[in-house]
């Protein structure tokens, strides 16, 4: 517990640079011609970053074994907090009608789902690493399915579609990293794919035959194969009914994703203004704090969900490329950390944390260009928000520790 501070320069540098850039962009987001409350949020963002750094520093002093030991209580606690939101949750931002925030009175404390993203990774790593062999059948996966399923269900009840997508991304990435064969991953995903394709009878039919071929080739247990096929048929039928059950704003977001011009002044407005902001940035951008779309308030949620549009408008393609490169640099480094980790738990934790961030970046950045639906999930290290900054730097601390204990590191050589 009192081991010396471990340093993974690349990890620290990329996460640190991203955070500094992020704070700068949150500051810029507040620089509008008609001043709003956003003008001051960069101060609390700096505060949260400092708190996050402190936590990260503390975590690097605790061994991975301690973290593993803490996994179950942490997971249970985060589930408890999540469940609490269903009772006393509050909404915010683009999803004011959801209940993802914990609040005392009118004061919002934080989003438990941000913490749950980390604890679910830890718990999933614990469950998956406990098995000696990779899962071969669907039945083998009941434990990890429950680990993700419980928080996922609570989050879908809030409802928070974006975070739900992140959990699914984490689930599949970690199954992949644990060695689950890709045909099995496809079989697991098949009901969801059926759901999406059910809007077109022809597409769904084609998918069904591919799936049938896959089942015959992979040969899972007979009962599993039958259940799977029945499930696929069922979701194909259920999907249209599900659509009706979606909240209007969720329906709108999905519709807007398909055609943003359909509702220019409504949901489509966000995406159109975001694209205009990014497109008008050009190669070099309009200059830090000078973006007109942002200054004149055409850009919605410019300090949270659409902060990357500010990057695009003010720093141009060069700025976008630099930020994305930093993310890629960080993620590739984490893959290395996972590869060289001492044990399967550490390895899975590292890969799980990386995959969570990757889904965030892909969905958030893709959303600003209308490549992804507007789900309201934040950009790691950039979007204004205390819980996420804190959780991200906790994760950085964990990764530093795993990196420090891993093969080829100073720490592992000594042990």
């Amino acid at each position: 517990m009192s081991r010396p501070i471990v340093s993974d320069f690349r990890l620290l540098a990329s996460a640190g640079l991203l955070s500094l850039l992020g704070v700068a962009m949150v500051y810029s987001a507040g620089q509008t011609d008609t001043p709003t409350a956003v003008a001051h949020v960069y101060k609390s963002q700096i505060l949260w970053l400092l708190i996050g750094l402190g936590f990260a520093y503390a975590v690097t002093h605790s061994s991975v074994r301690f973290i593993e030991w803490m996994t179950v209580p942490l997971y249970a606690f985060s589930i408890f907090l999540l469940a609490l939101t269903l009772v006393v949750g509050k909404g915010a931002g683009t999803a004011a009608s959801t209940k993802s925030w914990l609040a005392i009175g009118s004061h919002r404390i934080g989003q438990p789902s941000e913490i749950a993203k980390v604890t679910v990774v830890l718990m999933l790593a614990k469950v998956l690493s406990a098995r000696r062999e990779s899962a071969r059948s669907l039945l083998d996966l009941w434990k990890p399915a429950i680990v993700v399923g419980i928080p996922w269900l609570i989050i879908m009840l809030q409802p928070d579609l974006g975070t739900g997508i992140v959990f699914i991304g984490i689930f599949f990435a970690m199954l992949f990293w644990s060695g689950v064969a890709w045909p099995l991953l496809i079989l697991i995903a098949s009901p969801a794919i059926s759901l999406i394709l059910s809007f077109s009878v022809g597409l769904w039919g084609a998918w069904f035959f591919i799936l049938l071929a896959l089942v015959l080739w992979y040969r899972p247990y007979l009962i599993e194969g039958i259940v799977l096929m029945v499930l696929n048929v069922a979701t194909g039928v259920v999907a249209p009914i599900m659509w009706e059950k979606l909240a209007p704003y969720q329906q709108n977001r999905l519709k807007t994703f398909l055609d943003p011009t359909a509702d220019v002044r409504g949901s489509g407005y966000h995406v159109i203004q975001s694209k205009v902001a990014i497109g008008s940035g050009g190669l070099f951008g309009q200059g830090f704090t000078l973006g007109t779309q942002k200054r004149l308030a055409f850009l919605p949620e410019q300090h949270t969900d659409f902060i990357f549009a500010v990057v695009g408008e003010e720093l141009g393609f060069i700025g976008v490329a630099v930020v994305l490169s930093l993310f890629l640099w960080l993620f590739l480094r984490i893959v290395q950390v996972a590869e060289r980790a001492n044990d399967s738990y550490s390895s899975l934790v590292a890969f799980g944390l990386m995959s969570s961030w990757f889904v965030h970046v892909l969905v958030n950045v893709g959303m600003t260009l209308n490549l992804m639906p507007i789900t309201g999930i934040p950009l790691p290290f950039f979007s204004y928000g205390g819980s996420f900054m804190l959780a991200s730097w906790l994760a950085v601390g964990v990764l530093m520790r795993i990196s420090g204990e891993g093969r080829g590191s100073a720490l592992s050589l000594r042990s």
Binding site: I278, S280, G282, L283, T292, L296, A297, G366
Partner: protein, 587 residues
């Protein structure tokens, strides 16, 4: 768990590859948006933040022939607003209704303007009072989308005195916007609605400018001066007219308040209109920027019909003033000698078939030659002259002397006079059961003949210039003259002598003579089935070298002598002879 190093390394390679591909996809998408499609998005961004504010152009100033101002522009304030939706406009209007003292009609007008051009600032008050403007300026920050602009407002210094020809301006209407002629116009713009303002709209209308305001997403202006240079409005060039404003005002003055009718003064040599007036008149300044409902109702209810222009729209039987046309037709056809008299002497009437046609003077005129018949306006002479000419030649002669045509004056409201197109007109109207009595009526200016004041002035311009009828022109155009008849010198001089004699002792307008000036002219009485007869006088002076033709019609003026008084006063004023001390007596 399969955590054999080889397996892990393979999965690490696969995930790294997936990461790199994922980021390449994103970078590619940004490259396309930011670098390849940059221009398109820059334009969209500009469109977003720059709000064009139209700058109305001042209309061309209208001058009289000596450079006096007939129509000019005064600074006024317009209040307009920008709104993203109809609902937000409604909300803003109801919020502003009390401050701006808006009535429901103004609100619905503003909403109509918005629907026509939602991207333009919607005009709420085209001409706001200084009180309202100062209140709004005090609360500038509360109403960020309001635009208070200094705009040119049309003003006519002489008001009602010039309304008859200058017309007025007003906001373009829905139906005018649909007219291809006004294809480039926008709702809320001012256009000429009548008179010269309408006739010369294309000249008088300047070129609207534009100012760019930078606005935020809520349409609030954020910077004082536009980020793009303004395109200043281009004022229209001035319009120079032939009107003699002094004569015009004098003409207005001679029409006492109780008189109603029309008058026009023309230079017979060029067709230049020196004065044109219809009494009673109306105030075009009240019409600018929307006619107040109560004023409009008052004008409509007025039995003297001020909105009907009696100089160019009203049509009246020309009465005896037409006898000169009958004379010209007869002379041109060689049907009457200059010293001939008609078969029957005037005994106060004329028996034709079963009907007895009266002369206006029961005492009778005896035998008259043409000159005497004109001087005394002897109906019996002209009944018989008409019979000599015959109906078909009479109709054809009238047509060739433009009795069926508009005078061509440059005013959009002119009415076409009534005159039969051929004998067939009577067949169509009465079947076969009409008598030649129509010929007698036509010959003395009654019957199927109604002329505008301006058209009679045109005909008398021809009489003053050996048959050359000029097109009456208020503004400078290319002068147009047309020979409408050809008579010999002797024939011309007989007609002229007759017209001179009218204003000599014993003539029908003898009382209107002016000392030191030879006038020529003819009175007329237009029989009016609906009330008292209308009185005509058309004449010119100086008789031998005419410089001015004046036509006057007095509604319910009974007889032309009173109209002759007015006409001779106008002529005297113009030629600077006088002052005349004409006594208004019934002659």
């Amino acid at each position: 768990m399969s955590f054999h190093p080889n397996d892990v390394a393979r999965r690490a390679r696969m995930s790294s590859l997936a990461l790199v591909l994922g980021f390449l996809f994103l970078v590619g998408a940004f490259f396309k948006t930011q670098v390849i499609q940059n221009r398109q998005y820059v334009m969209q961004s500009e469109e977003n933040r720059l709000r064009p504010i139209p700058l109305p152009a001042p209309r061309g100033v209208i001058y009289d022939r000596h450079g006096a101002v007939i129509a000019e522009n005064l600074p006024a304030y317009s209040v307009s607003i920008t709104a993203p939706t109809v609902d937000s406009l409604r909300g803003a209007l109801s919020q502003l209704a009390s401050t701006l003292q808006l009535d429901p009609a103004q609100i619905s007008a503003a909403i109509r303007r918005y629907r026509r051009a939602p991207t333009r600032p919607t005009v709420i008050l085209p001409d706001a009072s200084i009180d309202i403007v100062s209140v709004l300026e005090e609360h500038r920050l509360d109403y960020p989308r309001l635009i208070i602009q200094s705009v040119p407002k049309r003003y006519y210094p002489d008001g009602a005195a010039v309304a008859s020809f200058v017309g007025y301006t007003g906001e373009i209407t829905e139906s005018e916007l649909n007219d291809p002629k006004y294809a480039t116009y926008k709702p809320g713009q001012e256009i000429g609605k009548a008179g010269l303002e309408k006739q010369y709209e294309s000249i008088l209308h300047g070129k609207e400018g534009v100012r760019f305001d930078e606005v935020d997403a809520r349409g609030r202006p954020v910077r004082g001066e536009g980020p793009r240079p303004d395109l200043n409005a281009e004022g229209a060039p001035p319009l120079y007219t032939n009107i003699d404003l002094d004569l015009q005002k004098f003409t207005v003055g001679v029409f006492a308040d109780s008189l109603q009718g029309g008058a026009i003064a023309i230079d017979p040599n060029t067709g230049e209109v020196l004065a044109l007036y219809s009494a009673p008149s109306w105030d075009p300044n009240k019409f600018t920027g929307g006619i107040p409902a109560d004023y409009y109702k008052q004008l409509l209810d007025d039995k003297r019909r001020p909105l009907v222009n009696k100089a160019i729209q009203g049509r009246y039987p020309p009465g005896s003033t037409f006898k000169l046309a009958t004379s010209v037709i007869a002379l041109q056809n060689g049907l009457v000698g200059l010293k001939d008299h008609m078969p029957s002497p005037c005994t106060g009437g004329f028996q034709y078939g079963s009907r007895y046609f009266r002369c206006w003077d029961k005492r009778g005129h005896g035998y008259q030659d043409l000159e005497g018949a004109i001087k005394h306006s002897c109906d019996v002479y002209f009944y018989q002259l008409g019979l000599k000419v015959g109906l078909s030649k009479l109709i054809a002669g009238g047509i060739s002397m433009t009795m069926r045509d508009k005078s061509g004056i440059d005013l959009p409201e002119e009415n076409q006079p009534y005159w039969p197109y051929a004998i067939d007109y009577y067949n169509k109207k009465y079947g076969r059961n009409w008598s030649n009595a129509e010929t007698l009526n036509l010959a003395i200016g009654q019957g199927a003949n109604s002329q505008t004041v301006v058209n009679m002035a045109k005909f008398y311009s021809a009489l003053a210039t050996q048959g050359q009828a000029p097109r009456p022109e208020i503004a400078h155009l290319v002068p147009q003259r047309k020979q409408i008849y050809n008579l010999s010198k002797q024939q011309d001089s007989v007609l002229l002598e007759g017209l001179k004699a009218v204003l000599e002792a014993g003539g029908t307008a003898g009382a209107s003579a002016i000392q030191g000036l030879t006038l020529a002219g003819k009175t007329g009485t237009a029989q009016n089935t609906g009330g008292a007869d209308h009185g005509w006088f058309v004449g010119f002076a100086p008789a031998d070298h005419p410089k001015i033709v004046v036509a006057v019609l007095l509604e319910f003026g009974l007889h032309g002598s009173r109209a002759a008084h007015i006409a001779s006063a106008i002529i005297g004023h113009y030629l600077k002879v006088g002052p005349i001390t004409a006594v208004m007596d019934e002659g």
